[in-house]
């Protein structure tokens, strides 16, 4: 008798278990948006503006149709002046929207998960980061760029998502995944 009873209990418990999970399984969300408004959230533009008084140089990369399609375009407004200290600001924009969406603000909000890296090939140029995230580590939206002697080369700007922070200041050792990587040809004269 005892055995039969325990069997019944087990069967009952099994049934309870089965039906409870079945309900959980069925209640999964299946929300349905059918408006077919496939608005894209892109970063179309990287604009690095360097200012020293009236000496303003902008480095801009623009790819309005995103990955694929037409290739992006690079635009450098002019040469940098030798032995000059520029204050730099970087902007990430989505220009498919009007007015353009400023994505730099999102990076700023999540500063502890992001860092900009500036890598010039002209050894005289130094870039220092002037802003800090909530943990006191640099973010790199605001920078100071100091030029030395004349020369030509390139400047690569990277935005790394989830880098190791703090790091040694180079993107190679910062890990993370690359959200932005653009390389501008620059000239110092």
């Amino acid at each position: 008798m005892k055995n039969i009873k325990s069997i019944k209990t087990i069967k009952f418990l099994a049934l309870l278990f089965v039906s409870s999970i079945a309900f959980v399984g069925c209640s999964s969300d299946d929300d349905h948006g059918d408006d077919h408004d496939h608005e894209e959230e892109l970063i179309t533009t990287v604009r690095y503006t360097l200012t020293n008084g009236t000496d303003v140089v902008t480095l801009e990369f623009q790819d309005l149709d995103g990955e694929g399609g037409a290739e992006g375009t690079f635009d450098v407004s002019g040469p940098l002046t030798a032995n000059t200290t520029y204050s730099g600001v970087i902007q990430l924009l989505n220009e498919t929207e009007s007015p353009a969406d400023n994505i730099t603000l999102e990076v700023e909000d999540e500063g502890d998960d992001h860092e900009f890296f500036y890598t010039p090939t002209i050894s005289d140029i130094t870039v220092s980061k002037d802003d800090l995230d909530e943990d006191g580590n640099p973010v790199g939206i605001l920078t100071t760029l100091v030029t030395g002697g004349a020369g030509t080369g390139s400047l690569t700007i990277e935005l790394i998502h989830e880098p190791t922070k703090p790091n040694d200041g180079t993107s190679i050792n910062a890990g993370g995944s690359t959200d932005i990587e653009v390389t501008f040809s620059i000239e110092v004269q």
């Binding site: 999970i21 408004d37 992006g72 690359t178």
Partner: protein, 794 residues
């Protein structure tokens, strides 16, 4: 539950004068089973059990006695005894759930007389209760898998997968966005009773495009008797610190009605390689299925519903930004993110919900045949999440919902002697909805697909030992899609404005053009099969098939960035259908003492669609390789060999080897992603009298794939100011793995049983990489896992 109980014995010294008394009982309620057939192997004679389930064998010599006991509705059972004196044994037959531990390579019950197939029965499937369908199928020779990490496992037959493989679940063809390489079939292995891998056969009933083969997932047929039974199984694992619990309950009635309810819950945290944790590789699954039906000879119905809900973590280190990140990952040999163990499933991840419902009914007409009608419906919702920023952090990058429903009929006429004819029609409507709000241009656009098919298959019994089958099928397919193209891609890169001006609309916005591509395909496919039985359990099967496959939506339309592969994948509207000629043969010997199967195959595929790298594009994220679909002529050939041998009474050997060669005939180079030569050896010990103790040691070696196409390239790294080599093609070295399995069964409660299993996978904690794992650049495969399973039948 101890199936056998030795009661008493008498001692005689004389040879050939022993008596064996047997009693056949129902495993569950102990009632006597009359009219069971008992085959005595040694003398090749048959006996029938009497009203009390008893039978008697006289004049036995000392030595081994092997009996095969079968009864309608019961699992056939083979037992052997060593006869040294008179013996009385109770033999219990199982009428449900367990197929017991029969050591046979193939089951004789084929879907079709001429088909070349291999079967995984319930006991095989239970080993994989907390794994996936792909893992279970991997144990079949000739079947491998294309993996993304260790939880997304796509089965592959003879190097072919995705749309070239038909998966039929409960007579419903699965449509779960199977076109993607990282889309695993949404099937709960615990819901099925038997899985058949059909390499060559008349698969025309299910579709015209089974170039690779067919995977048939079969439910159990229940015996019409009043009974309530079930089982619960718990599986726990050291690697991933998780497991699975599965329960099922079945009610059957003498009238023919039956019902079954089943559910499983699975959860794992981060898995571990031999050297480090694989951060964010955990998963969470909830599955449930319910079935009700009625079955009699004349008529019946079957209704089935299942829901599979998967949340799969994707190795965090595999999220990379551009090709330089990929180079860093390939060169570093350790994942870039290694964190402490956690059950959390963070981004990137996949969330998939698959609903499947069907209802089928049949009626038999006298002197004519059996007519079945089936309606089925599937909804597959796939959300893929990536690491994102700001408001979109919790929004999926891919959100697709595929709705499929079909109505089909099958008429099986057997009124003519020696000829069985199956004819049927099918209509299907499919709709893909690229759910808006992802903030990303959808990888697969909105589309509607209409199918209509008609087929006829005949099976002729030529004589007692040979059978011929032949069939043909016609398919009509129409695809209507709506997709935004980059104007530059449409007009310049692919020249679609001249090739397909009829698809254009006048809507151009943000440098994108709205298009309405429409395609119509007509497909003819055919199949011929022949089988012949020889003496000594040897049989020969030969099969020829002509299969055609319409390009899938991913091949036609896909357009976008794949983060884990750091590549942009682009479909092509100009693709034609694939056209395959395939030959498969098999020579088999089905015997417990020494059995084998040698199965060579040859497939020639015209306009084989493949995805290969074609160049590099510069984006705001840096450089990306662009992968495009193209079409070539391909051929794949090879052989699968299985051997089983009884070493002694209790020891058995099983081995298999698969050899395959895939060639791109157009360019005279190897095909990409073809499985390399692999072989397995396993030794098992089984003792029925010692609580069905089973111990198994298995070894598997996978050799390095030396035949692969070289798609490596150089890319300029602006930080290092140098060209770096991107080695995406080289294959990992050979590896060998050992695994250990053991199990015992006990009698528990009154009519139930308790089964315990202890298993160890990757026994030596070997560090290895597999060519067919898309994440081989980012981490090693799994290290050692210790698994404990407890199963209660009640």
């Amino acid at each position: 539950m101890g199936v056998l109980i030795a009661i008493s014995s008498f001692s005689y010294s004389q040879n050939c004068n022993y008596i064996f008394l047997g009693e056949v009982k129902d495993f569950h309620d102990g009632t006597a089973i009359e009219s069971a057939t008992i085959h005595i192997k040694e003398s090749d004679t048959y006996l029938i059990s009497d009203l009390d389930g008893k039978f008697k064998i006289e004049n036995l010599c000392s030595g081994t006695l092997t009996l095969t006991i079968s009864h309608i509705g019961c699992e056939t059972k083979t037992v052997s005894y060593s006869i040294e004196n008179d013996v009385f044994k109770i033999i219990s037959l199982e009428h449900h759930l367990e197929e017991l531990n029969e050591v046979v390579v193939n089951s004789h019950l084929k879907t079709e007389g001429t088909s070349i197939e291999q079967t995984l029965n319930k006991a095989d499937l239970e080993k994989y209760t907390d794994k996936s369908l792909g893992d279970a199928l991997n144990s079949v020779s000739g079947v491998s898998s294309l993996n993304t990490g260790n939880t997304i496992v796509k089965p592959m037959i003879h190097g072919l997968h995705s749309s070239r493989l038909l998966i039929i679940n409960n007579n419903v063809r699965m449509f779960d966005q199977e076109w993607g390489d990282e889309h695993a079939p949404n099937i709960d292995i615990n819901a099925s009773n038997k899985v058949e891998v059909i390499k060559g056969a008349n698969t025309l009933k299910y579709g015209s495009d089974a170039i690779g083969g067919l995977i048939l997932i079969q439910p159990k047929r229940y015996v019409a008797r009043d009974s309530l039974f079930g089982s619960t199984m718990l599986s726990l694992n050291s690697n991933g610190r998780g497991g699975n619990v599965n329960s099922e309950l079945i009610k059957t009635y003498k009238s023919g009605f039956y019902g079954r309810i089943q559910t499983s819950y699975k959860q794992f945290g981060d898995f571990e390689g031999p050297d480090y944790k694989l951060t964010n590789s955990g998963l969470k699954n909830i599955n449930a299925s319910a079935r009700i039906g009625y079955r009699s000879f004349e008529k019946g119905f079957d209704a089935y519903y299942s829901v599979v809900s998967n949340e799969l973590g994707i190795l965090q280190a595999s999220h990379i930004g551009n090709v330089n990140d990929l180079v860093t990952a390939i060169n570093s040999r350790t994942p870039r993110v290694i964190e402490d163990f956690s059950y959390d499933i963070d981004y990137p991840k996949q969330n998939i919900l698959h609903n499947l419902a069907k209802i089928e009914a049949y009626k038999r007409f006298k002197n004519f045949g059996k007519l079945s009608v089936q309606y089925d419906m599937q909804i597959n919702r796939r959300k893929e999440y990536d690491l994102r920023r700001g408001d979109l952090a919790n929004t999926p990058v891919i959100d697709l919902r595929l709705f499929t429903n079909s109505l089909q009929t099958n008429l099986n006429t057997d009124a003519i002697d020696n000829l069985k004819l199956d004819t049927g029609v099918l209509v299907r409507y499919q709709q893909n909805d690229a759910i808006s709000g992802t903030g990303v241009s959808p990888l697969i656009p909105d589309f509607e697909k209409y199918d209509a098919s008609i087929y006829a298959i005949g099976n002729f019994d030529l004589n007692d030992s040979s059978e011929l089958s032949a069939g043909a099928r016609y398919d009509f397919t129409r695809i209507n899609a709506e997709k935004l193209y980059n104007l530059t891609d449409w007009e310049e890169t692919y020249n679609y404005d001249e090739l397909f001006p009829q698809f254009e609309t006048n809507t151009v916005e943000n440098s994108k053009i709205l298009t309405r591509p429409e395609f119509t395909f007509h497909n003819i496919s055919a199949n011929v099969g022949y089988s012949k039985q020889f003496n000594n359990n040897i049989s020969l099967f030969v099969n020829y098939g002509l299969a055609t496959r319409v390009p899938n939506p991913s091949e036609l339309f896909s357009d976008g960035l794949h983060h884990s592969a750091a590549r942009i994948e682009t479909g092509l509207l100009t693709l034609n259908k694939e056209f395959a000629n395939k030959f498969v043969a098999s020579l088999e010997r089905n015997n417990q003492n020494f059995g084998f199967s040698i199965s060579p195959y040859f497939k020639h595929i015209n306009d084989y669609i493949q995805l290969i790298p074609v160049g590099i594009t510069t984006t705001i994220r840096g450089a990306f390789p662009v992968w495009e679909y193209n079409q070539i002529n391909a051929q794949i050939f090879g052989v699968d060999i299985d051997v089983n041998k009884k070493i002694t009474d209790k020891f058995n050997y099983k081995g298999s080897i698969s050899l395959l060669k895939g060639e791109n005939l157009t360019e005279d180079i190897p095909l990409i992603h073809m499985p390399s030569t692999n072989f397995t050896n396993s030794i098992s010990y089984y003792n029925d009298e010692l609580n069905q103790l089973s111990i198994n040691l298995t070894h598997k070696t996978v050799l390095q794939q030396n035949e692969f196409p070289d798609y490596n390239f150089y890319t300029f790294n602006p930080i290092l100011q140098e060209d770096v080599y991107v080695d995406i093609s080289s294959t990992p070295p050979a590896y060998s793995l050992f695994s250990f399995n053991s199990s015992v069964s006990f009698k528990a409660f009154k009519t139930g049983s308790l089964k315990l299993e202890l298993n160890v996978e990757n026994l030596l904690n070997t560090k290895y990489n597999e060519y067919l794992n898309r994440q081989r650049y980012f981490s090693d495969e799994l290290g050692r896992n210790i698994n404990l399973k407890i199963k209660i039948n009640y």
